[in-house]
């Protein structure tokens, strides 16, 4: 039993940390967020040059062969800087789906680009009616002679506004919420019939809803076996959850450090507000939430790449639940401890708070994962 990073893992994390510290000041981030791209192309390229976009991929694909722990190291530091680049969407989730479901040819075609950061993937698994149930898919893929015709709408595709490749789930058979009958398709967003409605997000990133109007794709667009995508989606979303938990811990650590500094520096009625016992104990409660979140980020990273099992499902649901609750607790109490200043756009805390709340809206909120976990309770008995 050993919770320390290996020397190599520590070096990796230090590399990302240095990069973020150097290039991702809060002011710069506000600027990146306001560009059309919505992030820093330069920073993305630096991540690529240092091999960081290749971390989770196999070595034969130019990758680093990184496990959940390496991904955790990268994501935590990206979280610390509130980085806007599509690491989670493209590298973890997009790359993960291709590596998991793709044929050898598909992998060779796309993965080197994903690993090098040149090909940005966005993933559309949600729909307007799906809430957080990724099996709730109305988008249909009808078989044609040449391939498939896709029709439907994918909701809140983060990074979709600038993606070079879209991966979407669609129903090739089955009823609306059946696990069976789901398939994955990879397509060029420039394909005729693909419409994107772009928007910024509450936490400073960008995304889109994707409308598919009789989109014709070839048979080579099918990713994985027809109708078998549900388990793959669940597995890869699980990897993404672990990564998101790691990001969240980075965000929380910064938010807590900022609040601590504020309590020491800010005076009211002649004393630092950190002298007030109620604020002290609240700070302890926030730190304790962070400890819980850290533990679950570690645990989820350690099972992220394991074979699917009830235990892996339980841990990932638990982790996302803890992260969601801890994130909201830290965001809300951090604002409260800061007072008005914590609610201004120009002070970074507000943006950390927003990211924490929004993480709870990605890949299922705390209620959703509590339900998932509760549904697996009897298995333990």
């Amino acid at each position: 039993m050993d919770f320390a990073l290996t020397e190599e893992q520590q070096m990796l994390q230090d590399t990302v940390a240095r990069l973020v510290r150097g290039e991702y000041s809060f002011e710069k981030r506000l600027g990146y967020s306001e560009t059309e791209l919505g992030f820093s192309a330069e920073f993305w390229q630096h991540l690529s040059e240092l091999g960081l976009t290749a971390v989770p991929f196999d070595e034969e694909l130019g990758g680093f062969g990184g496990t959940g722990v390496e991904v955790q190291s990268v994501m935590t530091e990206l979280g610390r800087g509130l980085c806007l680049e599509p690491y989670l969407q493209s590298v973890i989730l997009g790359g993960g789906l291709i590596a998991h479901a793709g044929t050898a040819a598909q992998q060779e075609h796309w993965l080197p680009g994903v690993a090098s950061g040149e090909l940005k993937v966005a993933v559309g698994l949600q729909e307007p009616q799906s809430y957080y149930n990724l099996n709730d898919v109305q988008t249909r893929a009808e078989k044609t002679d040449a391939g498939y015709t896709l029709s439907g709408r994918k909701a809140v595709v983060i990074g979709g506004h600038c993606a070079d490749l879209l991966i979407v789930s669609a129903r090739t058979s089955g009823d609306e919420r059946d696990a069976g009958g789901l398939s994955l398709f990879a397509l060029d967003p420039a394909t005729a019939g693909v419409e994107r409605r772009n928007y910024p997000t509450m936490d400073g990133a960008k995304g889109c809803d994707v409308v598919l109007n009789n989109v014709q794709v070839g048979a080579e667009a099918l990713l994985g076996d027809e109708g078998q995508a549900s388990a793959i989606i669940e597995y890869q979303s699980g990897r993404a959850i672990a990564a998101l938990c790691a990001e969240a811990v980075g965000v929380m650590e910064e938010a807590i450090a900022m609040t601590l500094d504020y309590l020491k520096a800010r005076k009211q009625f002649g004393v630092p507000i950190g002298q007030f016992q109620v604020l002290q104990h609240r700070m302890v409660d926030m730190s304790s939430e962070l400890e819980q979140a850290r533990s679950m980020a570690i645990l989820s990273a350690s099972v992220a790449n394991n074979e699917q099992s009830t235990e892996r499902k339980r841990i990932l649901a638990a982790a996302k639940n803890v992260i969601g609750r801890a994130g909201q607790f830290i965001a809300e109490n951090g604002i409260q401890s800061h007072g008005g200043i914590g609610m201004t756009w120009e002070y970074s805390f507000a943006h950390y708070a927003k990211r924490l709340i929004m993480i709870n809206h990605q890949l299922g909120d705390d209620d959703h994962h509590l339900e998932q976990f509760a549904g697996l309770l009897h298995v333990e008995e």
Partner: protein, 398 residues
Amino acid sequence: MNINYTPEELAFRDEVRSFLEQQLPADIAAKVKGFRHLSKEDHQRWQRILSKQGWYATHWPSEYGGVDWSPVQKHIWDEESCRYGVPRSIPFGVNMVAPVIIKFGSEAQKQHYLPRILSGEDWWCQGYSEPGAGSDLASLKTRAVNHGDHYLVNGQKTWTTLGQHANMIFCLVRTNTEVKAQAGISFLLIDMDTPGITVRPIRTIDGGYEVNEVFFEDVKVPVENLVGEEDKGWTYAKYLLTYERTGLAGIGLSKAALSHLKALAGRVLKNGRPLIEDTTFSQRIAKIEIDLMAAGISNLRIIAAVEGGGMPGAESSMLKVRGTEIRQSINDLARRAIGPYALPFVEEELELDYDGEYLSDKDAAPLAPHYFNNRKLSIFGGSNEIQKNIVTKMILGL
């Protein structure tokens, strides 16, 4: 004991309802109910309608053009206003500076300012808070030096709500640095067009602009703009703070927000069924509705006590804390209700005159911004921690 309204009170409620049904512009009500931004013009339009009805100044003696409502009537007005989607009143003129002028101002100040407030000619804002002094007002640093016929004002105010619309500001300024903190403060009325005043909007967490910084650089303020006596401003400020203590809990607003939430949860689907039928979510709603039901009765108990001539005490501060927590919880649930659609920040849909296709539910766009914006409820107007300190003093006497 009778928790129902008297026939007279019911008749008053009918009168309020029929006024609102006939006179409240539908576009304004829709914005209010959907948590969308109101323009300055929206506020002014509604104020003119209220003034015409004689219902604008609900906290003034009738001799100055106010309306002489009892606490219960005020409460009925408040409840119905929230239910119908009346814009929140901008209190700085009508409910804050006016009572101070009425109580402590000169005859000339009364004759000049009060009619302009009633008519909407003046839009007031408040210059109390300063950077580095949030709930600790007495430590303020903005200086006003008496030069005989005018004060020269230098300093900075912050958190000035809707200062971007205002042409007048009332300020607490330090006129004496020799005495202890609270004793050297004066209460000044300042024209925002005076040279040397700069207003800088503060963008808030939700992306909106609601509060401002106001900078004063060698601003000349005529001495007749002093309210009452020099160095006695703290007394007037305290009077203002204790002037109106009911209604702070926002019970009516929470009821409106809860209705909105339930309607929303009836439209949003989860596993093909309305979210409001989901066990987890419906229990989350139920818990808040129950808390609100209890807080509503607590509110009525306080109002009845005031109606009976009592002063609201610790219960009022406790209810302020409870009420803001409830409203924040409702905002939290509304944001949760839209699931992944809490992420998109669709600024154009925040405006009611948006006529494009909605990204998702018609009411979705303002929900996440509104949730973030309303984190202020437990901070502004005496933070919940300060409220609890106040209650502590009252009940523990320690």
